[in-house]
Amino acid sequence: MSSLEGWLAVAERSTTRYVLRVIVIVYLALLVGWPVWLVIQHTFGNGLEALRAALSDVFVVFSLKLTLAVALQAVLLNTVFGVGVSLLLARYTFPGKRALSALVDLPLSVSPVVVGLALILVYGPRDGWFGAWLHERGFEVIFSAPGMIMATAFVSLPLVIREVVPVLQERGIDEEQAAASLGATPLQSFWRITLPAIKWALVYGVVLTFARALGEFGAVKIVSGNLVGRTQTATLLVEQKYQDFAQSTAYATAFLLAAVSVACITVVTVLRKDHAGTRSTKHASASAKKRGGQ
């Protein structure tokens, strides 16, 4: 290529690159950036007054605590289940493995309203398949905390598994086999080798699950009965306050929820990039070595 053609090619590349960059930035700004900025403005329009007023409302505080409690318990359930199932899927073969793997992804594509309906059909206190039996023994699922925890766990079920399984598969069982041959028990091997290996994937999965659990609305709306002061979560409270002509409280609570979720995601994204950064320099030097060698 002559130097002029070369220059033109480079210029064309940078124009396309620039145009693409602008398109992407504008799209994201219009769809996400600007609206979010407006909500922040709305919330802090009167300085901290809206937030202070919201936090002095006993029911707002209760709903936030309830959301946190429900989310944490759902996260715990999904983490235990997630790590267990990931190990099973990545390390073992068994009949129905492929079906299980596909079904575990199902909650990602099911509507939360369908989740709520499904749980009511099975655990409803009067006509539920198991619910009636449980109700007679005094164990309430629907209109009570267990139902809400189950609904939240349902919708966020696959998130840990989707992060951990690929890592387990990449990792291979060499180290674990080595440990076993050196006399480590399965528990030691899990604690010392497997868990550290999936650490970051697990953290990211847990944070995603937590964020999803904090934000659950549709399924919880159906199974909770919306009992203010007992089963009303923060998302349900946002809807109620908005409808009760208390918009500033609604915005303030919405902002708090959003801030926590976004903060979690940001922190983990940043940490992940830092962590990946050190890894990729290792890789870059390794492949450079390889290329140099050839």
Binding site: V61, R126, R192, N226
Partner: protein
């Protein structure tokens, strides 16, 4: 940066401990709610229809103030009346219900949750009354003055869904009755309802959902309770309302469940007392007792005369023959409204 191998297990343990602790903390907040500190907390749970929340909240505060020494905490749930009634039947635990119309309480009686004598008292079980009004945009730009204007092609109506909402059923019967009041026959009234549903722009789930929809810009007229229009204006919403010439007396029943606590029964007595009715009046409801001093009601068209007597005030008994008959005729599986909804495709 190699982190210590203990870090992760420690994190997991922290999470487990925290999540075991948080429900305990949450539980104790739940049982405090709105209460005073003088011991003996008893909890009253209330399931109500959507529009009654503000009035009940105010009445609860007054009740607690008037009865110091009994710590009462409240657990409340508000939503579309029919939906709430069905929820209670299917297991939503409650001590006290305040629903939009009598059949929603009858359902509970049939399920054995409320005593059959619930409506034996002097007010026949009714705790609050109102009338059906037409809420319009500020300044009434479309000049809506009565039921006939709702059939105009340029008018879009917002009314809740009769399947779930009590408010909706009162609205529809008021509309139907307005034709009868002018001397029309049942056929004319049915035709009116057809035109009405054709103009319906939205059918939100509850009376409050309808108010929110109207406030967010849907439709030109909201058919609703008078007290809802008054409350909305008290809360800063910018719309006007019209009491049509012919309207229907809305009567909202309240009852306690068979295993309700004494505090719940005391609350019902309070609501039915002049003091309780005064509080409800301040939130826009018309008192069920005579001689209650209503005072000035902010948000009403004329705060000094907040509850004008409409020219024609129909009741569910006259001309509709009671709720059992009306429900069957209009809202049953073969009901008139059910079939009109199917015809016009609005459900």
């Amino acid at each position: 940066m190699r982190s210590h191998w203990l870090a992760l297990p420690l994190a997991v343990v922290t999470a487990v401990v925290m999540s075991a602790c948080v429900p305990a903390a949450v539980g104790s907040v739940g049982s405090s709610g709105i209460s005073d500190d003088s011991g003996g907390a008893s909890q009253v749970s209330i399931v109500g229809f959507a529009v009654a929340k503000a009035a009940n909240d105010a009445a609860q505060a007054a009740f607690v103030a008037a009865n110091p020494g009994h710590g009462v905490s409240w657990v409340t749930s508000y939503g579309a009346s029919g939906d709430q009634s069905r929820a209670v039947v299917s297991g939503l635990d409650t001590d006290y219900v305040h629903l939009s119309l009598e059949p929603d309480v009858t359902r509970l009686v049939d399920a054995g949750l409320v005593a059959p004598t619930w409506n034996a008292g002097p007010t026949k079980g009714i705790a609050s009354t109102s009338v059906v009004v037409l809420a319009v945009r500020k300044g009434n730009p479309k000049h809506i003055t009565g039921w006939d204007d709702l059939l105009r092609p340029d008018v879009k109506i917002v009314t809740p869904n009769p399947g779930s909402s009590g408010s909706a059923r009162w609205n529809i019967l008021a509309a139907y009755g307005s034709v009868l009041a002018k001397g029309g026959d049942e056929q004319a009234a049915a035709d009116y309802l057809r035109g009405f549903f054709r103009n319906v722009a939205a059918l939100p789930g509850s009376g409050r959902d309808a108010t929110t929809a109207f406030a967010s810009g849907t439709g030109d007229v909201l058919v609703s309770y008078e007290n809802e229009a008054i409350l909305a204006r008290q809360s800063g919403q910018d719309f006007d309302y019209v009491v049509p010439d012919s309207t229907l007396l809305i009567e909202n029943p309240a009852a306690v469940t068979v295993d309700a606590s004494p505090a719940a029964r005391a609350y019902l007595t309070f609501v039915l007392s002049p003091a309780g009715q005064q509080i409800f009046a301040a939130k826009g409801f018309r008192p069920v007792l005579d001689g209650v001093d209503v005072g000035a009601v902010a948000g009403a068209n004329d705060p000094a005369q907040p509850f004008p007597a409409p020219k024609v005030l129909q009741t569910i008994d006259n001309p509709f023959g009671g709720w059992a008959a009306a429900n069957e005729k209009f809202f049953g599986d073969a009901g008139l409204v059910t079939s009109i909804q199917a015809e016009t495709g609005k459900s």
